[in-house]
Amino acid sequence: MTVAAVETKDLVKVFERGRRTIWQRIRREPDKRDRFRAVDGIDLVVEPGEIFGLLGPNGAGKTTTMKMLATLLIPTSGTIRVLGIDPLTRPREVRARLGAMLSGERSLYWKLTGRENLEYFAALYHVPPGETKARIANVLAAVKLADRADDYVERYSTGMRQRLALARALLPNPPLVVLDEPTVGLDPQASRDLRDRVRELKAQGRTVLLTTHYMEEADQLCDRVAIIDHGRIVALDTPAALKRTIRAEEVVHLEIALDGDERPVIDRLARSATVARSERSNGTLAVTAHCASARDFVPAAFDAARSTGATIRHVEVVPVTLEDVFLAVTGRALRE
């Protein structure tokens, strides 16, 4: 039986907000700090060789989960196994097998060159001296930075710094790579470039666990996706299977101008589609509807509007995305 790359059971992390002064401790006053469950019972199995995505809005608990896997945080309760090893009892063994890119471009030495940064981290990763040079050349080639390796990092673009951080994570030749929001802050070209590098990691037989709040990224890149919200996993499957769960082929966004109550028009629309979301601002009602066929739904929507005295101003038909899945399971948009 193969060992799972990552396995967590009922993983919980509670943070305390605010401070407890020394005076309060001495007087043994009751602890009145707020407790915040950043991760609230996550069960996860990441199989070897897959690209697994944790998708969720900011503050959903993705980064906290990653940090617990990477030995930087101690869980409040629950168990973790990384490549079959417990990070709580054998943290150094986990770190030796794990390539992690957590806070991205900030985490490099700007007054050192790219190569000097990697030389430094190669020693920290205990790469044998005889192999260091070749290993650095390999990872630089893998992230396509070989020609700029001897420039100071302060002269790199954001995308290059992000790629150097990825190269650093590859230094120990890790079977498991964890990437926290790898493309955040990158322009579209640099993001595409980094995603290509991630696909290559899978082709090399490595397991990749990544977090993102970009649904396209999760959709295009991941073999399986866990949607995470308020510290819990609310859905977990392949992107295609997740999209099938909302039983719609197409998504229609409508902008409706109306004066009176919006309820009648929403009720009428709901007869021919699932109204996933509606939001009113001033005289405009924005509606997202999931339907089997836009060709049938759109004329029905115009009829519904006309019969309730409203006017449809704008219609947009789009294929189902993970954003819609998130909307369906949480009732909120990913970016809210």
């Binding site: 930087l72 101690i74 770190r95 957590l102 985490s107 030495y109 050192l112 430094y120 920290l124 205990h126």
Partner: protein, 273 residues
């Protein structure tokens, strides 16, 4: 073995990246020169009678003003390395975000203290060499060959300072106002060790603190051997106390550092910018 190489890599990285801030490198020599060495020398010289130092002689049993100042400065420099070079710079790495990827590697976290201490020693030796050269050329600094007998005391003081650096790092990684803490504590420890004046001049209530610091004995041994000044106690006894204090400081520092690390992992403080 891997950790020894990692410590050397930390030292090399520190030396490399610091050497690229030229003004800061110049500051390691010039700041002690204008803040302490030259003003202290001219202040002391204002008490000179026909080129002699009857006042200093009455206090210490030696008239060697430049020797007194430079040897105090030497241990003061060591204290500065522990406070700024090791503890505070670890905190800066945390604020810059580079501590997190370093702690993701299999290298022991305390290796970063050792590596920084090695890097700090490089700058310490370099700046003290320039300072002593300045003293010999311009201020008439002369040291007796007996100073060599005091070198083990300097070695012990270095070990003790690494122990203190562990302790400091533990505090500095957790508290908010790290800069103010390091600034004031460095002054207090330096002054209480007798870098600028003999600890016997301190008010009585403060003297027990002075005698609890390993650096107090290192400075005293150094001055009595190199300048022939009156020691606080018998040199053998001072060596014994220095060994005991170093032996206590080191494990206490490591323990505190391990506790701080645990707290950080529990509370998730590593990447709090």
């Amino acid at each position: 073995m891997g950790d020894i190489r990692a410590a050397l890599a930390v030292a090399r990285k520190d030396i490399r990246s610091f050497s690229r801030y030229r003004i800061a490198v110049a500051g390691t020599v010039f700041t002690p020169l204008y803040q302490f060495v030259i003003p202290a020398f001219l202040f002391g010289a204002a008490f000179a009678v026909n080129g002699r130092q009857p006042g200093l002689s009455a206090t210490l049993g030696t008239e060697d003003l430049p020797g007194f100042i430079f040897l105090g400065g030497l241990v003061g420099g060591l204290i500065a390395i522990a406070f700024w070079g090791i503890a505070f710079s670890l905190r800066s790495e945390m604020d810059m975000g580079t501590l997190e990827p370093s702690w993701l590697t299999p290298t022991r976290h305390e290796t970063f203290i050792i590596g920084r201490a090695l890097g700090g020693m490089f700058w310490f030796v370099l700046s003290q060499t320039v300072l002593f050269a300045f003293g010999i050329w311009f201020l008439g600094l002369r040291l007796r060959p007996e100073m060599l007998i005091a070198l083990p005391a300097v070695g012990l003081a270095i070990l003790a300072m690494v122990g203190i650096a562990y302790l400091l790092a533990a505090v500095v990684l957790i508290i908010r106002e790290a800069n103010f803490f390091v600034d004031t504590m460095q002054f207090v420890v330096g002054t209480m060790s007798g870098t600028a004046f003999p600890v016997t001049l301190l008010p009585g209530v403060l003297q027990p603190i002075a005698f609890a610091l390993p650096t107090t004995y290192a400075i005293d041994i150094l001055r009595s051997q190199a300048l022939g000044s009156r020691p606080l106690f018998d040199t053998g006894l001072e060596y014994l106390v220095l060994v005991i204090l170093t032996g206590l400081t080191y494990p206490l520092g490591r323990w505190a550092f391990a506790r701080a690390e645990l707290t950080m992992r529990r509370r998730g403080m590593l990447a709090q910018y």
